[in-house]
Symmetry: C2
Subunit: 456 residues, 2 copies
């Protein structure tokens, strides 16, 4: 077997030709999206009022295992993919561990994260359908940045509703989106009925993802030639993100490496779902076993402390409802939480796989996350996004455990992006002023008290 | 001939084995560095009091055409090199030009710029010599970021003196350096005699590169086991940066492409000197002709409006003096200037080549630069550094000219880095509040009034 280089680069020809749809191999399919008013399952026509037609089709397709990636999207992917799978030799050495650590690095494109994989796909289908533009929301800003890049490339209009506290705390993210030609509105805003209603009731609100989603959907359906697009949670997004896992598997296979443990951070589940898809597929087909770990922030612990139930995806309750692990659509992580991954729910696919025992979940506190991020940066050069650093933390802990036990485990982690726009949080960590916040049992119970009675 | 892909990636095996030392082919060598007090040429021993021994040797070597890149540096280079040479198909299309535009992209490493090419080399030689650490200054922050990454990798201490206005306006750059373990001090500072003197005389100063250099040198020579390192201007830096030009040449040769025009931005000259070195080498040996263009900001026009003379490299006048195009060591660009490239002088190699007619220089105003940067970002996806965007502006102007004349010129430009830490300036441009500033003839004359009488 050849020596394993620092970076395993697949060639352009090895870029996957098709996305992998893990739903085709799932015995228990993710529960259908429901109309939040009637409780009826959403049809393709229902969904097409909000989403692009082809994306509505992908959302509902539980059967086709491989869906071809259109040539135009593959050409765009070639500008930054295949992304490198890096052997973290330097990190292993500094940790003095027999474990072998690999990371799949998705930050090496200008948008700085894996979000571009789905952004270009969704923008492409919108363009195909002859739309004028799309609307979306963004929290930490990675999704908005990626989508603004994709829309600029294809000549589509883009309206972004940016959670107000991010809009104010991350003005530079906002400027990147504006530089790419997007219009960016702080949410809640007076430009939508839902925004006006929330502002009237809570004039001092700093906004939330759930509220920004409602505004973006309202904006899309009230403008001719627009549809709404979303950067996580949905089945279609996990489908597009499977390119991460497929490349990871191809790169490992090329060098005959079999991972023991696969670790991803989990907010809405787009990166985790994409990274693990083909590996879970092997598990579902009985071909292999892996220890798959979802890592979430202790301040927003949907998998580890939430409930598996139907819930609203947005504050305005105008989006389809999804069966997922949720903390309740009114749950808001503490303002001291800096590291993204602040959605109240979780991808229905990831939720179902977790419920069925194909992965486990752990939560970590943010000061421990930034400690790992800083250690990693100094070893591996890359300044990781706080989100990604959740996975780094757990990988490092396992590698340290291996040092004690002598196990030579092979660990793969998803390094979803870079932290250039999170230096405010890094600064707080460097200054020792960062704090942790874990919701009390009462906080959790309050969030779960108002789940809708859907699908029961 | 094969179709030219969007990105030409050389393989790891095609990474240059040696740096190219253009001085070996220059008929008129760059003038020697002089002791600013005595006017005597600096010897290797003189320079070794301030610089690492091997770097002092490289600084004075005007004869060896190729200097081998140590294996350890090559291994580090492999983490992000060879960097891609990108055919700007999308930009060409949007400009509707018959010109063919290529850019050598140096921003695809975590430090975000070409500065890492020399940072790792200088840190390596410091480590080899058994030093504890190094000191440096940084203005816009790219050099400090790159060096902090290199020092973290090698386990060297790093003290950075950061020009005070940058320290305050770019707190996130500072945090990146701190995250990599560097100590960062705003300059002028009370930690050095020179800093204390300047603070006493100008308590409200926002600092300058020349002052920060003085402080970093004083800090190095007054700490056992430390040396000073510099990110531009010096011959050694241009030597290391030749890796950019060598890769560019190899990639073009691979596809049988002969450039007509090679464009680089010019501040201290490190990127430009590195990019053009092997091409100028061909010109010096009579093997080829190119139209080589240095682009500088209209607000800091050392080549287009400065004088070719010996000058001090730093405010404290403790560094060796260099013969270069200079605006005078007291010259400060307007505070409204946002785009880097604010050093009063220019690399002695670039200066000599310019003086001897091997390249021409143009200056551009910053609103035109950001207009080009924004246009480029929307076409090519990459958010360029303001510095790099000076070269983009001139390349776009030439491509537009080609649209009129029908010429199918081949243009190569150096895209030195990304602008993630320059969103404050992008924001000013997006808001329409950015202004231009061109020094008056009186401003220029004042700067040139106090040149030293050295080497005359």
């Amino acid at each position: 077997m050849a020596t394993i280089p620092y970076k395993i680069y697949l060639s352009e020809e090895e870029l996957p030709q098709a996305w992998y749809n893990v739903r085709a191999d799932m015995k228990v399919k993710p529960a259908p999206l429901l109309n939040p008013a009637t409780g009826a399952p959403m049809t393709e026509d229902d969904l097409s009022a909000v989403f692009c037609r082809e994306l509505a089709r992908q959302e509902l397709d539980n059967d086709t295992p491989y869906i071809e990636i259109p040539r135009e999207i593959r050409d765009f992917y070639k500008m930054y993919r295949p992304s490198p799978l890096v052997r973290a030799y330097c990190l292993e050495q500094k940790l003095d561990t027999p474990a072998k650590i690999y990371y799949k690095f998705e930050g090496n494109n200008t948008s700085g994260s894996h979000k571009l994989n789905s952004a270009i796909a969704q923008a492409y289908y919108a363009k195909q359908q002859g739309l004028r533009g799309v609307t979306t929301e963004t929290g930490a800003g990675q999704w908005g940045t990626a989508l603004s890049m994709a829309c600029a490339y294809l000549g589509l209009d883009l309206h972004v509703f940016m959670v107000k506290c991010s809009y104010e705390q991350k003005p530079f993210r906002r400027e990147v989106m504006r530089t790419y030609g997007a219009s960016v509105t702080p949410s809640p805003s007076p430009t939508t009925a839902i925004g006006r209603d929330i502002l009237a009731r809570f004039p001092d609100t700093v906004g939330s993802l759930g509220c920004a989603i409602s505004e973006a959907v309202e904006d899309a359906v009230s403008h001719e030639g627009y549809r709404y697009v979303l950067g996580s949670v949905l089945n279609q997004v996990l489908l597009h993100q499977s390119v991460i896992g497929l490349e990871t598997q191809a790169a490992l296979d090329k060098y005959g490496v079999k991972p023991d443990m696969i670790i991803g951070c989990a907010g809405g589940g787009s990166n985790l779902g994409g990274l693990i898809a083909p590996f879970v597929g092997q598990m579902l087909r009985g071909e292999a076993q892996y220890d798959i770990v979802a890592v979430e922030p202790a301040s927003c612990p949907s998998l580890t402390r939430g409930k598996f139930a139907y819930d609203f995806c947005d504050t305005g309750k105008i989006c389809p409802a999804a069966k997922m692990y949720t903390l309740g659509s009114g749950f808001m992580p503490s303002p001291s939480h800096a590291g993204g991954l602040r959605y109240h729910g979780m991808s229905p696919i990831v939720s179902q796989l977790y419920h069925d025992g194909y992965l486990r979940a752990v939560s970590v506190e943010q000061t421990k996350v930034f400690e790992a991020a800083t250690f990693f940066a100094r070893c591996e050069g890359i300044l990781p996004a706080p989100e990604s650093s959740h996975a780094i933390r757990v990988a490092m802990d396992e590698a340290i455990r291996c040092r004690e036990t002598g196990e030579a485990k092979t660990i793969v982690l998803g390094l979803t992006g870079t932290g250039y726009f999170d230096m405010y949080a890094y600064g707080a960590f460097n200054d020792g002023t960062m704090s942790d916040h874990i919701p009390t049992d009462d906080d959790i119970a309050r969030g779960l008290a108002n789940l809708p009675h859907l699908g029961e």
